[in-house]
Amino acid sequence: MKPRTLFDKLWDSHVVCAETADTPAVLYIDLHLVHEVTSPQAFAELRARGLGVRRPERTLATLDHSTPTTPPDDLGQYVYASEDAAQQVAQLETNCAEFGIALHGWGSAQRGIVHVIGPELGATQPGMTIVCGDSHTSTHGAFGALAFGIGTTEVGHVLATQCLLQRKPKTLAISVDGPLGPGVTAKDLVLHIIGRIGVNGGTGHVIEYRGSTIAALSMEERMTVCNMAIEAGARAGLIAPDDTTIAWLKGRPQAPRGVAWERAVTQWRTLKSDPGARFDREVKIDAREIRPTVTYGTHPGMVAAIDAPVPAAASAQDRRALAYMQVEAGRPMAGLAVDVVFVGSCTNSRLSDLRAAAELLRGRRIAPRVRMLVVPGSVAVQRAAEAEGLDQVFRAAGAEWREPGCSMCIAMNGDLARPGQLVVSTSNRNFEGRQGPGARTVLASPLVAAASALAGVIADPRDLLPQEQAA
């Protein structure tokens, strides 16, 4: 048999009807994640056509985008940014009840950002196809699942038929080898990759990340890397499951148990690209070259090492981006004054991210000019962090410890920066106005975010690391 890539195996095992010149493939979807923003119109379509949800047990809903990250008021009510936001959440509650879908909503200990709770629950498993009306669905590829974002029309397709019409994408292998230096994280790695291949470098492709650097990453780090595959334009990012994946999933609430677990593990171990499998494109990255990396422009492909000069503008486009960011070519990003620091989002809101930021903040105070928000990715992350006292570390440092949600990543729940403010953000998009009209976003790792909060300017975390680590 012809050697196949991991992607080929995932694709082949989910084809209900093969694609032809005239029609796309009908692809079966194992897990459909649903949130309040991109689903209401899809449910309305089902109602209009008199359709039901084909597989409610393969559908999992939560509230994350429009929800406030402030605690409930004295009456126990959550205070929304707008009546529309409250309506949208109420609509999802109604839709889930009517169509028989499990909702991890208010009051659930399993609520959180959709891409944090899927893995946390063990609902995300190797070998699956996973979709959600959210482009960062690529996150789940960290488990060796084919996971990609879809539009609302397709949300309706999956609700009604558990299938999607898809043309087979191309494959791009990104091999990363070598150790990551001290203070260099998975976030720096993925920003470096996007800088290398470009914000459209993955368009039409599914990325498989491979190599010794990737194999050495924890599951949470792998999720950070796959999360941002879409920022290079790729439909999905994939990492082959291995011992790290299997150990992480064991015992999760929705993971298989007993004999079913053993059988699943045997099957998961076959999910890797065969020797000699051909990719449409290949890129090689040397991890040793990567330093703490930040964005300097208005898309995630405009990146530079924190201490390297910002490249000169090569086009009118670049000049516009630098002007918007109030950044000067030829000077490094380090040293630029910071107004807001945001630690959170489906990219970097997991326990290890919060630990990394807290480690630098412990026993220190953030700069008086800086407002810092720390927003855990889920109720489970929130509780685990509180059990370790991380909330106290953040509060003592002068940061705000908030309720879980997407928060300032998408800034549609009232958490936003003012025009002109510079935000060092652990999220995934630095588009103009993404974090509030006129706000300037610098994407960074939790370490860079914490170091910058302390310094009041964009700062290199390596200067704060213990000597033996920094050496």
Binding site: A21, P24, T38, Q41, H65, Q88, G149, A160, R429
Partner: protein
């Protein structure tokens, strides 16, 4: 979905590369539960100044842009989020065709499913349109051709299935629903394998 057959319109040109879906419709307008009426938010933060007044310099606010149904956009149009509100907003603002040298995957899929014809042209063709804003084009989907004012033609192709759905004005869910037997057979096969 209303059918798309052919149309004749002037172009409006946004030459910026990497116009993301947050540009097309900012996230703060996504708290709606409707798909209609989003045209007023299309390119909102370009169209309106911070005091809420229209920016007369923005190309879509200029008198010559009024009624234009063809948007010529810089490379990698529609990158970023999967929000279908982006094509909904463009359609509601009167845009029926988007032309670029590269269009982000999710946006392109969403557009075609809503009757917004998203077409990728060659670099040279794209460059010509960027350099000649406001010219009148005749777009013929059945023929796969764009006719220029001087009689010149650009041939284009989109996915054949999406093309047939657009021409007929039918959405793709109908086709998927017709595959119910195959889907049931697939599910049963898997159940047998798991047993």
């Amino acid at each position: 979905m209303s059918p798309f057959d052919a149309l004749r319109s002037r172009t409006v040109v946004l030459p910026h590369e990497n116009i993301d879906t947050d540009r097309i419709i900012p996230a703060r307008f996504l708290t709606t539960t409707q798909r209609s009426g989003l045209g007023r938010y299309a390119f909102h933060d370009w169209r309106y100044r911070t005091d809420g007044s229209p920016d007369p310099d923005f190309v879509l606010n200029r008198p010559e842009a009024r009624g234009a149904q063809i948007l010529v956009a810089g490379r990698n149009f529609g990158c970023g989020s999967s929000r279908e509100h982006a094509p909904w907003a463009l359609l509601d603002a009167g845009i029926r065709v988007v032309l670029s040298s590269e269009i982000a995957d999710i946006f392109r899929g969403n557009a075609l499913k809503n009757g917004l014809l998203a077409v990728v042209l060659s670099e040279g063709e794209h460059r010509y349109l960027l350099d000649h804003p406001g010219i009148e084009l005749a777009v013929d989907l059945a023929a796969g051709q764009i006719e220029l004012p001087d009689g010149g033609r650009f041939d284009f192709a989109i996915d054949g299935f999406a093309r047939r759905c657009l021409l007929a004005g039918v959405d793709q869910l109908g086709f998927l629903l017709q595959q119910a037997d195959a889907i049931a057979a697939f599910e049963q096969q898997r159940q047998r394998e798991a047993a």
